[in-house]
Amino acid sequence: MPEDRIRRKVLVGGMLGAFVLLWLRTFSLQIVHGDYYRRLSEENRVRVEPIEALRGPILDRNGDVLVENRPSYTVAVLPSPWLDSTLALLSELTGISAEEIKRRASAQRRWPRQPVKVKRDLPFPMLASIEERRYELPGVIYQIEPRRSYPFGDLAAHVLGYVGEPTRREFARLAREGYLYGELVGRSGVELYYERLLHGRPGARYVEVDAFGREVRELSRRDPAPGAKLYLTLDLRLQEVAEEAFGDGRTGALVALDPRNGEILAMVSRPSFSPELLSGVLSEDLWERIRSDTTYPLLNRAVQSSYPPGSSLKPLTAIVGLVSGIDDEDFVPCCGSLRFGDRVFRCWGKHGRLDVIGAIAQSCDVYFYQMAEHMDVDIWAEYAEALGLGRPTGVDLPGEEEGLIPSREYYGKEWAQGIMLNLAIGQGEILVTPIQMARYVGAIATGRLVRPHVLLRVEEPDGRSFSVEPEVEEVPIPPDVLSVVRKGMLEAVEGEEGTARAARVPGVKVAGKTGTAQNPHGEHHAWFVAFAPYEDPTIALAVVVERAGCGGAVAAPIAGKVLSAYFSEMMAGGAR
């Protein structure tokens, strides 16, 4: 058929025509522009210049910026061969010795062709003096790098954390995940815990360079994807009040959280540090000074330190006593001490006859000793764990300490019921962290145990966002038992005989419990745990001040300041 022929010619013509076009393109690449590509390939003049992704900012629950980025200049030198005069001049201008530059170059020999960073976060006068003598410094380039900036200084330093350069071993692992040499990673706090979200994905420029390493043109480019924006549960204003109330001279921690959902509203740890200073270019001696500081300022005491809870544990003992049906009818009145076996257990006052509410309010040791006489330590430990003590809370901060709730097995042959008497008032081998105590008091307040968390919401740069869902579990304690204990804690603050009257807030009913934990190394640790409002709790907090003395005198006033700020803000701005 003639028509078939035409159809075949069109089809074959189309196919072979495409091949002719391909051949022409090959000819153009290999013959017409062959010299150009040969040069590119022989001298490998394509340099990959990584573009760091902007680290995600960190904001408080209302969108106030807590951590952001600011641009900074880094001076770097392209890989060897170097002229000695270049290195000499560069080290004169920056104060970094030529040996140090060579050492850094050899440290990154596995990543050749990357510029060697000489000095980061260049001060402006130094930048100007280098720029002035640019032509005597072949191979020296600037890189604009984002630095971490913390507009509120030390505020919430332990929650936010700081960033730093990874060690060589860490980098070997990070490089496989696409990290660039010299990129900063989170070292503690949220910066570390949410490193993956904050980091973003670096981009790259493929540039053609001349024989001096100077850029001739950009061949192609891959834009970096910035890290996600993190909204924390912290409330900037409450955090400021809490930091202020805690003061700088004291050592200890404060945790305030929402007992309904576990959102941490404020978290303080003292002594503190400057995250900006640590995230910047850290000099050897400053780092050495921080490391050898025996007050351990980098430790987040709210999460990473454990203490005996003292009397702030008495609500737990009361719960176990009430649940086990221990009858206080035949308890002897408190006259300052109690004899048990061949030992005398002392009370801090003479309280006379009390019911359980009064005993909590006035923190009478003798009452709780008598409860403990008939108490099974394993049942007591079971309830302690049900209220989240002695086990990790699962908070989204690194390095959480577990604490310790001893069981019968823990003591072995050493066991004697006298130990239970001590445990009942929160002394002895028991250890808890401040964050455990905040969630414990929250669980007493609501009957539900929450997982505390500092991350509220994540906004990805592409517009997706997700919120952290609250994790809540019911506590296996009858509501009437909890309400008796709550009443005792209310009396402790609002009652005339209460030990925690310093935590009162006008117009709001506060319930709380003081604690004074014996410290074998010195002065007592002062504790205070509280929740408010009594009728419908929206805040639970725990304060511990190391080596400060009595809980009612030291810790309760700090909590009072935080609570009154919280409620005055609520009344002024409504529940936010």
Binding site: M15, R25, T26, G34, Y206
Partner: protein, 406 residues
């Protein structure tokens, strides 16, 4: 007969040799790829066996196998989407122990048989629109399933099959144009939205108007077609506006993977440097620096032509193009002379598939086609692709053996 057989076999065998050399050179000294060359040779041996077997099957049996094979491929593609495990974000393979089977490759073979059978059955009716719809749907279904994996390159090569085969079957040029016009329209509008260049869309509207004026379809069809085009032209930009940023970026990466995060732009750049630096005679076998030093990723699979271009230069590239040209030329001659319409369609399907894949693949290495990840037939490493294309060669040889039968 003997002439035709060698006319097909010679270019195929030469391409296999070139491909083996390329795979050898690209994987030498790379510990992770040390099994690649032995496997490649194994696939070639299996492929030769498949080729001989297919060439010996009586055409009647092939004809009756068309429907069951089509159904089997359909089921395998659906099962893959339902059961397959994603590798690097795409579900393309079934894993059988250490071997991975890519069902979209044998699907090409089944589709060619099924389309050939359909077109043979309806020899007089193709000038009517309603007979065009079934073959287009048969291929469209496969193409869509492969697109969902997602594997754009293979989906496009499957979509291209009915175009060539319908043309061979006598479809009117105007129908061909109208069939492809919605896709062209959508792409032109997207180009307008993305680059602000309205010229392609304007040209398309002019051409479409002229074609419709000359063709003068039935009034009802005219209204329907105009409405469809206006719908596409208005829907694409507003849909685009409504997408999230990340969805848009995915679509851009889909259309132009040069912008994709794994740095396909870098791949193409290095491939161009490799080929361009080859010059006339190339740097010599096993002497490629770009491909040898692993600057070109996927150099033993999708970018095998970069190895050929760098090491054997314009000479090697011309040889590859000439061998493909010879294979297609011989096949198409056979398609014109074979008496069985069924086998004729089979040949056209095979030849057009080779031409399409070779053009897109080599064009990609030369930086004039988007990076879609399509292997080069007979040269690239990859079992499913190798066996499928060898089966297609068997089909063409089969037609040569039975060229005088109806």
């Amino acid at each position: 007969m003997r002439e035709t057989g060698w006319g097909i076999l010679l270019p195929v065998l030469s391409l296999l040799v070139l491909g083996t050399l390329g795979v050898y050179s690209a994987t030498r000294g790379v510990e992770a790829l040390r099994h690649t060359l032995p496997q490649h040779i194994l696939f070639i041996c299996l492929g030769l066996g498949v080729m001989v077997s297919v060439s010996l099957i009586p055409p009647k049996v092939l004809y009756s196998l068309a429907c069951p094979l089509y159904l089997a491929s359909l089921i395998s593609l659906i099962a893959l989407l339902a059961l397959g495990t994603p590798v690097r974000g795409a579900v393309r393979w079934f894993s059988l122990g250490s071997f991975h089977v890519q069902p979209s490759e044998p699907a090409k073979f089944s589709l060619i048989l099924a389309l050939s059978r359909f077109l043979e059955d309806r020899r007089t009716d193709l000038r009517k629109v309603r007979w065009i719809i079934p073959p287009v749907s048969m291929a469209g279904l496969f193409s869509l399933l492969v697109l969902l994996e997602p594997d754009l390159g293979t989906a496009l090569s499957i979509a291209f099959l009915p175009v060539a085969m319908l043309w061979w079957a006598g479809m009117l040029p105007v129908h061909l144009f109208l069939l492809m016009s919605p896709v062209i329209n959508g792409l032109c509008v997207l180009i307008w939205v993305l680059t602000g260049n309205a010229l392609p869309w304007g040209a398309f509207v002019v051409v479409l108007t002229v074609v419709l004026l000359l063709y003068r379809p039935r009034f009802f069809h005219l209204i329907l077609w105009t409405a469809l085009h206006i719908g596409i032209a208005t829907a694409v930009p507003s849909l685009w506006e409504r997408l999230y940023d990340y969805q848009r970026r995915r679509i851009i990466a889909f259309l132009n993977p040069g912008s994709d995060p794994m740095g396909a732009g870098y791949q193409v750049l290095q491939s161009k440097v490799a080929i361009g630096s080859g010059g006339f005679w190339g740097k010599g076998f096993m002497k490629g620096t770009q491909t040898g030093l692993a600057f070109v990723p996927a150099r033993h699979t999708d970018f095998i032509s970069a190895v050929v271009g760098e090491e054997l230069g314009l000479f090697g590239m011309s040889l590859v193009l000439a061998l493909f040209g010879m294979l297609i030329w011989r096949s198409m001659n056979l398609a014109g002379s074979v008496r069985s319409r069924f086998l004729s369609f089979c040949i056209v399907g095979a030849a057009s598939l080779w031409a399409f894949q070779a053009t897109v693949n080599i064009g990609m290495a030369l930086g004039i086609m988007p990076v879609t990840g399509l292997p080069l037939p007979f040269l690239s490493y990859g079992g499913s692709s190798m066996l499928t294309h060898m089966a297609l060669v068997g089909l063409v040889l089969n037609a040569g053996l039975h060229r005088y039968e109806y």
